[in-house]
């Protein structure tokens, strides 16, 4: 590349960007956590919601946006993570924490929560394998319907497990989630997705999306890429579920139905499929929008829905996607 007279490819600059993003968001998370006490209950709760939705949207964007596999079952994975994490802190926590003693109680709780979140993520990833193996053979609408079906199956399973509270769900989950946990997870999630996609290996996700037949002819194994996207996406959705459960302190199966999946899909579409900054922005806007519309009370959801329709009509490529002009040289 030396001496040939052209600029180094843009790719080389991109290599260093994900780490910068990670550092920036980590710093932001630290700052947020420092000032969390001054926000008050309402704003802390809102920021937590925003952060969790960012994790959900960015992880779904890997599946729907970058890899082009339209999944409508993301809330199902979130549910698996939420239930797993909550079960660990509720059933194992009371037996484990007193052992640590009063002096280390705080640290033990932290460790327990971290382990619970990780377990939730891993459980969701396993669920991702179980769902992905049969359904990723399907394409387009059929895949969407299959994942929708699996999402509902998870919901019905939760409804029928007595030890997990059945239809009433789990109550009294300790409030371990704070802004620090949420935004650190969000930072890691964003970093992992961006870093994966910005590599020669990871360009395969986009190649599979653009043309599966051509990708296969270039020696890529589309199934492997789809599974990687699905499992990674499910993992982060599971962690987001754990954070969600330990924030609102009560979870029930209906919180993880297809309406929830749909909310996340809307964020991805509105942000622009495969456009991570756009999807983050959409997650923020769509979480805050219903709050801003609170003054108009009962018309709130009507206006929210109308806004979505208008946005889809005027900016179908995504609210935050400025399509680069095809460069004709």
């Amino acid at each position: 590349m030396n001496g040939t007279g052209h600029n180094p490819p843009r790719m080389l600059e991109r290599i260093f960007r994900p780490k910068i993003i990670l550092l920036a968001v980590l710093a932001g998370a630290g700052l947020l956590a420092c000032f969390a006490g001054q926000f008050g209950r309402y704003y802390t709760g809102l920021l937590t919601k925003v952060g969790i939705n960012i994790i959900l949207a960015v992880s779904l964007n890997l599946i729907n946006g970058y890899t082009g596999q339209f999944s409508l079952g993301h809330a199902g994975f979130m549910g698996v993570g939420a239930y797993t994490a909550a079960a660990i802190t509720l059933f194992i926590g009371p037996n484990l924490l007193p052992v640590a003693g009063a002096a280390y109680y705080h640290w033990a709780a932290w460790g327990l929560f971290g382990a619970a979140l990780l377990a939730g993520g891993l459980a969701a990833a396993v669920a991702g394998v179980v769902v992905g193996l049969p359904s990723l053979r399907l394409k387009g609408d059929y895949l969407a319907i299959a994942t929708l079906g699996f999402g509902e199956i998870f919901r019905v399973i939760f409804c029928n497990i007595k030890s997990l509270g059945g239809g009433l769900g789990l109550n009294g989950i300790p409030r371990y989630t704070n802004l620090f946990w949420v935004y650190v997870t969000a930072a890691v999630c964003i970093y992992v997705v961006v870093a994966m996609v910005h590599s020669t290996y990871g360009r395969g996700f986009l190649a599979v999306r653009d043309d599966e037949v051509a990708a296969e002819a270039m020696g890529l194994n589309p199934t492997r890429y789809k599974m990687a996207a699905f499992v990674t996406g499910a993992f982060f959705a599971g962690i987001a579920g754990g954070l969600y459960g330990h924030d609102i302190r009560a979870i029930d199966p209906n919180g993880f139905g297809f309406m929830r999946s749909f909310d996340i899909v809307v964020m991805v579409i509105l942000g622009g499929m495969g456009n991570t900054p756009g999807v983050i922005a959409a997650a923020i806007v769509l979480t805050l929008l219903p709050e801003w519309l609170r003054p108009v009370a009962e018309y709130r959801m009507v206006i929210y829905s109308l806004l979505l329709i208008v946005l889809m009509l005027t900016r179908p490529q995504g609210l935050f996607t400025w399509r680069r002009k095809w460069k004709q040289v």
Binding site: P8, A195, T200, G219
Partner: protein, 268 residues
């Protein structure tokens, strides 16, 4: 290509690709019937035939899109029938498509970069960790991609989305992408389709160049007789899925069966 004629002799080493009695049926239609053919290590073979003769189907058989109902396909002495397309590419067969299939939203650089997939050391874990090995490999690949783009005179389009390229450049990019997988055999499916005479002449030069520089075998399906007769050392003629002739361009041109397949039987 007078010089090409002398090289058309049958290879003494086992052939690179061998089709033996291959048959493929779609329901009641026999698309390819009992096809036997060989391609040597530095062969430049043309596969021609009237519309619907089964030329692209033969490509799809070789690249694993279809599995033959009967017969054997051997590449480098090993059977590849029934293997997945990506496994066959890994063994050294790369292809282009009749209707160009680039990764439209990816830029030109990334289109070629993706094709290095088979020779990567890195995986997703390395991509997340971004250690020195990963960065070194990315730098190396960037250099190789740019080299490739320069050979194919595509470097000025580097950052343009592939879907926005002019037609001739898209065809060239597809060949560059296929070569980036480092194949032993390159299959070109109607590379001259939709090209004007100047572009065709350039394409012929390019195919000859690729064959010489990379020392690989080339099999091309083509409708344009000028291109086929101009560059191929050997030609296989298909009609209704059956091989009706094989030989040098001169032999094929003079073959009455070929004339009949293309023009019909002479009036009595």
């Amino acid at each position: 290509m007078e010089t090409g004629l002398s090289m058309a002799a049958t290879p003494t080493t086992p052939p690179l690709l061998r089709l033996e009695d291959c048959t493929l049926r779609f329901g009641g239609l026999t698309a390819v019937s009992g096809l036997t053919a060989e391609i040597g290590e530095t062969d430049l073979v043309g596969l021609i035939g009237p519309n619907g003769a089964g030329k692209t189907t033969v490509f799809n058989l070789i690249t694993g899109v279809y599995r033959p109902a009967a017969g054997r396909i051997e590449f480098g002495g090993q059977s590849i029938a029934g293997k997945k397309p990506c496994q066959i590419t890994a063994r050294g067969i790369a292809r282009t498509f009749q209707n160009i299939r680039l990764f439209g939203s990816l830029n030109v650089f990334d289109n070629v970069r993706v094709a290095f997939h088979l020779h990567l050391w890195q995986g997703l874990g390395h991509a997340v960790w971004r250690g020195p090995g990963f960065l070194r490999e990315e730098k190396e690949i960037a250099g190789q991609v740019m080299e490739m783009l320069e050979i194919f005179q595509l470097q000025k389009y580097r950052d343009a989305p592939a879907a926005g390229l002019p037609y001739g450049e898209q065809r060239r990019l597809e060949i560059a992408r296929a070569l980036a997988t480092r194949p032993k055999l390159l299959l070109l499916d109607e590379p001259a389709a939709g090209m004007n005479p100047t572009e065709k002449a350039e394409l012929m030069k390019l195919i000859r160049f690729v064959e010489e520089k990379y020392k690989i075998a080339v099999l091309l399906v083509e409708h344009d007789m000028q291109v086929v007769m101009g560059i191929c050392r050997r030609i296989i003629v298909l009609d209704y899925g059956v091989k009706i002739a094989e030989g040098t361009p001169e032999e094929v041109r003079a073959n009455p069966k070929v004339i009949e397949a293309y023009l019909g039987r002479p009036a009595a």
